[in-house]
Amino acid sequence: MARSPNPLAGLARNVNAWLEERIDLSGIRELIRHKVVPVHRHTIWYYFGGMTLFLFVIQVLTGILLLLYYRPSAEEAFESVQFIVTEVEFGWLIRSIHSWSANLLVATMMIHLFSVYFTQAYRKPRELTWVSGMCLFGIFLFFGFSGYLLPWNELAYFATKVGTDVAGQIPVVGHLMARILRGGDDVTGATLSRFYGIHVAILPAITTALLGFHLFLVQKQGMSVPPEVERSGAPLRTMPFLPDFLLRDLVGWLSALAVLGALAAYFPWELGVKADPFAPAPAGIRPEWYFMYMFQTLKYIPAKIGPIDGELLGVLGFGLGGLFLFLVPFLDRKTARGEKSPLFTWIGVAIAAYIVVLSVLGYMAPGGK
């Protein structure tokens, strides 16, 4: 074989040959070579899974950097974050990107979830992909909840107090769950240590396993084609994953990076004031945008509905809604049989509309803006 004049290409070939001698890479090579992405009018939704993954990688990288300076105790947590954003070179950027990226991640994950729902990609044989995705959704919300306390500021403190109170409303296990989360009866330094452990060790470990499983299924089963595209009978166009789809993915990721940079530079994530367990709750307190619909719903529910506590009913309602979404591949039998399933589409529309409308109402309510 004639030697390439490009020394880098030569080095790559040598490394490849060295690896090939020891590990059989033909399977992976074949997978990449033959992996294709369907092209149709809903292809754009495929990018949101990759975008979520990209933001997760950002979270991991910025999170590791934050770990170098963060100190997880009620006495030092706030001061250490203050040190990061004021004294550490580019600490402000890392912290702001970590916070903004977490929010964008939840947004892209929601878009990904609903796009999969409306294109009915959860149907057989992808039930496990959907279930693992729903688990990841819950875990990422918990990532947000646990990470929010770590700066140990006033808002984080009261947010955790309220959030763990809501968890305590769950029948039978609620009280125990709240105690386990708090490490006692109230939110204290013990809660902070606990949330820190959950945020940087337990959740990442579970996420790695679940994400690996989710991505394995996506690679194994390929991208789902929406039923309406399948039913149209038209020949299905595809594009190679490498490089066509990946290059397009990269365009999206770079755009997301630019947006994150702009948000960090123009709207740095505020630190607030250090938590004081003896201080009253601050005025105008409201949840993060992705919990706003729950917050607003609970405000509307009366204190008592018959003999049942209104708050408990609200928590049960959200639990049932989550369970419905979790089990939708097994409930939607028509889609599984390849038939149209307008009922589930309308239920999805109702859920999405509910989330949007209640969130808007939450922001329009006095003190919500």
């Binding site: 402000w92 530079a265 105008g284 405000k299």
Partner: protein, 443 residues
């Protein structure tokens, strides 16, 4: 649940249902407290008058507006709540419904007491420590004694029928505890109580004292603190003049009166050369510069050599005092300017999203120094004031530098962002060109 807040958007936490629950508990507790107060207040408002009391029955039933007010007003009176009735002050026999019997001087009936007799009448109980202890073991019993030392008391003994006695300030037949918000003696009502006489030029005719004191006081920083800020410890008439022993503070004692609250300032003044000078000139400390009833919030312009400064009222430009006043003012202006400059840049940095809370906290060192310098002005020692001012200026300048650094950082961030965005856009453009090339190649 993660919560965020925008401060100042709502006076109350708009709560999640968890805090709504807390809110409901608070509302319930509040309702209980209010209910209890109303209940208790209701008892005070509507004390039931005793049955079978000829004084009350006649005064209430007679229908003559000249005699009914005592019976009408008495249900709100604290004495009724404590079981003290008409005969305890006026004598007579309330069990006897024959006017001749019930209002029999032989039964101790004194009728309407004479103006001059009122202090002694009230003092019959209120000066009796053993008796008063039954109602409140810590209550004062020296009011009458003190009253007799007051201008009111002295004039009363001289036969003046217009001066205030107990009932002039405490009302009659509607006497309330001093903590009762409707009492004439409640702090925010005192100025109206005193003003009923001291604000009435016609009534005060002949006494040769100013009657604009009430209007002046209402323009003061003290009245503002009392009524607008709700600070019940802010001084009203009785705090400076005394209540039962009410008397105008003299030149010698006015500094002691102000110094009761403004103790540090009073100490500084006592160390200053002005103490002797004021005494020699017969000038009252404090009020000569700050005025008395209409004392406004002092500003740095009070000191110095310009038109608004009070120093120039005594010190002519050739005097050493004039030079000292100028030097003191310069020190104050420098420190105030440095604090304002630092606070301004830190506020701008904070509004731009920069984390400057530590610098803002440290700036308190300079604002504290400004407060201390303002108080130290009363020593009229330019060197001591300069030293304090310099310390504060040093802190303020350090914080200003931190503000400048924060603003520089902000500009660096914005520049860095646009450079990064430029690089990213170039990379995106390259990727788009590559995608098009691939698409073209594939047809």
């Amino acid at each position: 649940m993660a919560l965020r807040s925008r401060r100042g958007t709502s006076p109350l936490p708009t709560a999640h249902h968890g805090t709504d629950l807390l809110g409901r508990c608070i509302v319930f507790a509040w309702a209980l407290v209010v209910g209890a107060l109303l209940f208790a207040g209701g008892r005070a408002e509507a004390q039931k008058l005793p049955e079978g009391n000829s004084c009350i029955d006649c005064h209430r039933g007679i229908g003559d507006p000249r005699v009914t007010p005592p019976a009408e007003k008495f249900p709100q009176d604290i004495h009724l709540a404590k079981g003290i009735l008409c005969q305890d002050c006026h004598g007579g026999d309330p069990r006897n419904f024959d006017p001749k019997g019930s209002m029999n001087p032989a039964k101790g009936f004194i009728g309407k007491p004479k103006h001059q007799a009122i202090p002694q009448l009230c003092g019959k109980c209120h000066s009796n420590a053993a008796y008063m202890k039954k109602f409140n073991p810590t209550i004062r019993v020296d009011q009458v004694q003190e009253y007799l030392t007051s201008v009111h008391g002295r004039k009363l003994r001289e036969g003046d029928q217009k001066v205030a006695t107990c009932i002039s300030c405490h009302d009659v037949h509607n006497i309330r505890a001093i903590k009762d918000q409707q009492a004439w003696t409640y702090p925010v009502k005192v100025v109206e109580t005193c003003g009923r006489c001291h604000g009435d030029a016609k009534y005060m005719e002949g006494y040769k004292i100013a009657t604009d004191v009430v209007d002046k006081y209402k323009k003061s920083v003290h009245y503002e603190a009392l009524t607008k800020k709700g600070d019940l410890s802010a001084p009203t008439c009785n705090v400076c003049h005394g209540n039962h022993g009410a008397t105008p503070p003299g030149v010698d004692s006015v500094a002691n009166v102000c110094g009761t609250c403004h103790s540090l300032t009073a100490d500084f003044f006592n160390q200053s050369p002005h103490k002797k000078a004021f005494a020699a000139m017969g000038l009252a400390p404090c009020v000569t510069c700050h005025s008395n009833h209409d004392v406004t919030k002092p500003s740095d312009t009070l000191v110095g050599t310009d038109q608004q400064a009070v120093c120039v009222n005594c010190h002519d430009p050739a005097s050493a005092g004039y030079q000292k006043a100028a030097a003191i003012r310069t020190s104050l202006d420098e420190l105030r300017g440095a604090v304002q400059r630092a606070a301004g840049i830190l506020d701008r940095a904070e509004h731009a999203g920069m984390e400057v809370s530590q610098a803002k906290f440290e700036l308190r060192g300079a604002t504290d120094a400004l407060l201390k310098t303002r108080a130290t002005v009363h020593r009229f020692d330019p060197v001591a004031i300069r030293n304090l001012s310099d310390e504060g200026v040093q802190v303020a300048n350090k914080m200003y530098d931190k503000g400048v650094k924060a603003m520089d950082d902000l500009r660096f961030r914005h520049r860095g962002l646009w450079i990064s965005v430029g690089i990213i856009l170039v990379a995106i453009a390259g990727l788009v060109l590559k995608i098009r090339e691939i698409d073209r190649r594939r047809g």
